[in-house]
Symmetry: C2
Subunit: 217 residues, 2 copies
DNA sequence: AATTATTTAAAACAACCGTTTAATATAATC
DNA sequence: GATTATATTAAACGGTTGTTTTAAATAATT
């Protein structure tokens, strides 16, 4: 960090630090001065290189996405040839790890989670760029499990059920950390969580596909 | 409001408005000046009646809890005599309505959700006062469905699965509003959501209780 | 009715915010 | 090597924040 601080140009340092600080504090709480201080540049640099704090935020978001897509390549769940149950397991496992990874790219999901909980103007772009693709992929998998004739609203609701289980670990992490800390300590705990969510959801989905004619909508 | 502003003493007005504004903006984003303006009191009143902005926040939280418990009496799900499946349905329905009610006491859950997503010092008290009781109740219901010999960790995970599905509508509401707005428009949509979550979870739970000996932990 | 305590009010406080300015240092170009 | 263009700096700007001060108004008590 200290070496790269000397080598990398100020623009790049600013962008990297911005991702960290915005993820940590959120847009409104983060201060230009803190970002500049940690990037070892003058306070005026934000307005020199980027137009404003808000413009820096937007670019930091875009940069974080691009980094995350580079480090976390697209899901193996994309493979259409695999059985849908396995695709679901892969999807949930990948998504949950992406959410709970505290290292480099946990910043990415932190930024998104912040935007969702407390939206700024950038939310619409995030939905298009980062959320809709994930939604579409999971929707396709669920559709495959429930069968093509499944009601569209039911598919949507099942999708929310699965995402909700995963996001619980992100949005309510402060609670889980205190009440069930052992569920979140390390990588294998995360994997166990992913397996539970998969089992829980698959049990529900297969039930749904069996009894769908008896449903009272 | 205008009448009560003249009748109710400044202290009470301040507390009520504080609940609204803190729920709307969060602790850090909310300003003393806005609260005082909406309560029709002088800026100095916050530091006169309460010691500081932070003390006002703490008291506003406590006040909101007490109001919510008064307006939303404890779950019918508490009734031990009912079959556990019905208790689960009652619990989810009540919890989801509490979460999505935009009127008076939606403020209560808004405040809690804010605290969870972006904790202040007050979180510990919230967990004790508001969250643990709900967790314990749901835990008891799940235990009843899975059977007394069910693994404790599995019970915990199922609990998170169910809470996660409910909280999805709270924490990711900004997304649902944009992608599936019809799921959240009114009271009957909320009820339909509660019914789905109940059906989804019951399907998974009954499956779990059937195949528990075949589980690979 | 006089005196004490309590509540309201306007103004100012120091600290911090994002942004701008104006001057200097560095690099690139001719 | 002189002259542009680019990058960096320190300082200040206007605005907002939570909090404090000081004084006036109101209520309560004797």
């Amino acid at each position: 960090m200290t070496q790269s601080a000397a080598i990398e140009p100020a623009f790049d340092r600013l962008l990297q630090v911005a991702v960290e600080v915005f993820a940590e504090c959120g847009f409104r709480e983060a201060t230009v001065r803190e970002i500049c201080s940690k990037a070892h540049v003058n306070v005026a640099s934000v307005n020199y290189y980027f137009r404003s704090k808000e413009a820096l935020y937007t670019q930091a978001l875009a940069f974080a996405f691009q980094e995350a897509n580079r480090l976390y390549p697209h899901d193996a769940a994309l493979d259409n040839g695999l059985p849908p149950e396995q695709r679901l397991a892969l999807f949930i496992n990948n998504f949950l790890h992406k959410l709970l990874d505290d290292s480099h790219l946990g910043l990415h999901s932190k930024l998104i989670a912040r935007e969702i909980a407390d939206p700024t103007k950038a939310l619409d772009e995030i939905i298009e760029t980062a959320i809709t693709p994930q939604f579409n992929l999971l929707q396709e998998i669920i559709q495959q499990i429930l069968g093509a004739q499944a009601d569209k609203v039911i598919v949507q609701r099942c999708l929310l059920s699965i995402f909700g289980q995963c996001l619980m670990f992100k949005h309510s992490r402060s609670i889980i950390d205190r009440l069930y800390p052992e569920l979140i300590v390390n990588d294998s705990a995360t994997q166990a969580s992913a397996e539970h969510i998969t089992r829980f959801s698959l049990a529900a989905l297969t039930r749904f596909s069996q009894q769908k004619e008896r449903l009272i909508p």
